[in-house]
Symmetry: C2
Subunit: 153 residues, 2 copies
DNA sequence: GTGTCTGCAAAGTCTTTGCACCATA
DNA sequence: TATGGTGCAAAGACTTTGCAGACAC
């Protein structure tokens, strides 16, 4: 079971409670930190662990965890949101290649040093110029994977 | 009226037709190239120009133009898609600061030279490494704008 | 003239909300 | 035990689809 003390503490500070359901959902996410879970996938797995868990709670929990910065929400253009744990993840800072043909998503961590340096400078300057408190950023490349590029009509 | 010959030609090549409705929608988008139109906003304006235009056609047209690469579709996390013309736009290559408090979106074009250089190298290397044909990329920063940061509860 | 496009309405998909009951701190 | 959390079902928001008639090439 997922028992990260940092998250628990974080919730207490906010007057929130660490419930069974929330632990199960965190557990599901932490078992495959590299996966891009849809709400439905999380629901299915969590529901297998505890069949009383409902869809609404999954959405409410994902929303809460996103607000707390524990997970990050993504949109890859297929109409449903995706979620990834932000910690306990070996490839924590990474970005995505999204195939617009089949929806395949590839994580990449290449060039993160240069990117990190550029992004830090950019964040700092944008924060000052636009009086904006930046929390995080996403970079996504869209295109066609090898399979879809070959069988292109 | 929007009469870009490049787009017209592009459609002909694909066996598509440049209809009144499509021209009106392109016209709406080209009048405010810096705006992040929702489908509803486009529908309302287009409908004012020609009240026979329906919502379904707006969605179908936006989908078509996105596939052709004439417009780009964005998701800023508020549950509805946004669209921007990719050409005839003075600030064509730009990225977004998204306020997670109020949904405000700021375009920025700063650091595009360094970013462009890094992105080009990254695209090239990723294409080779992952056998991926990259079409475009997005960078989005999420955070709080000045107003939302001040009145933070 | 023929194959594409359109409007309308209906259906589909993902997500949120209301409310009574339950459980954590 | 006081507040926050949960499950269920229903509603809500955005987007897609089927079909008959209309239109561009």
């Amino acid at each position: 079971m997922f028992g990260n003390p940092w998250i628990h503490k974080r919730m207490m500070q906010e007057g929130l409670r660490m419930t069974q359901t929330r632990m199960i959902i965190l557990d599901v996410l932490s078992k495959r930190p590299e996966h891009h879970f849809s709400a439905e996938e999380i629901f299915i797995i969590a529901h297998r662990i505890n069949p009383t868990i409902g869809f609404a709670t999954v959405y409410r929990t994902l929303d809460l965890l996103t607000r707390l910065g524990v997970i990050q929400k993504f949109d890859f253009g297929d109409g449903k949101a995706r979620y990834e744990l932000m910690m306990g993840n070996k490839i924590s800072h990474h970005h995505h290649l999204v195939c617009t043909g089949c929806g395949k998503i590839i994580d990449y961590t290449d060039f993160t040093d240069e990117e990190k340096e550029l992004m830090e400078r950019t964040e700092k300057a944008l924060s000052e110029k636009y009086k904006f408190k930046i929390k995080n950023h996403i970079i996504q490349f869209y295109g066609l994977c090898n399979d879809c590029n070959v069988e292109r009509r």
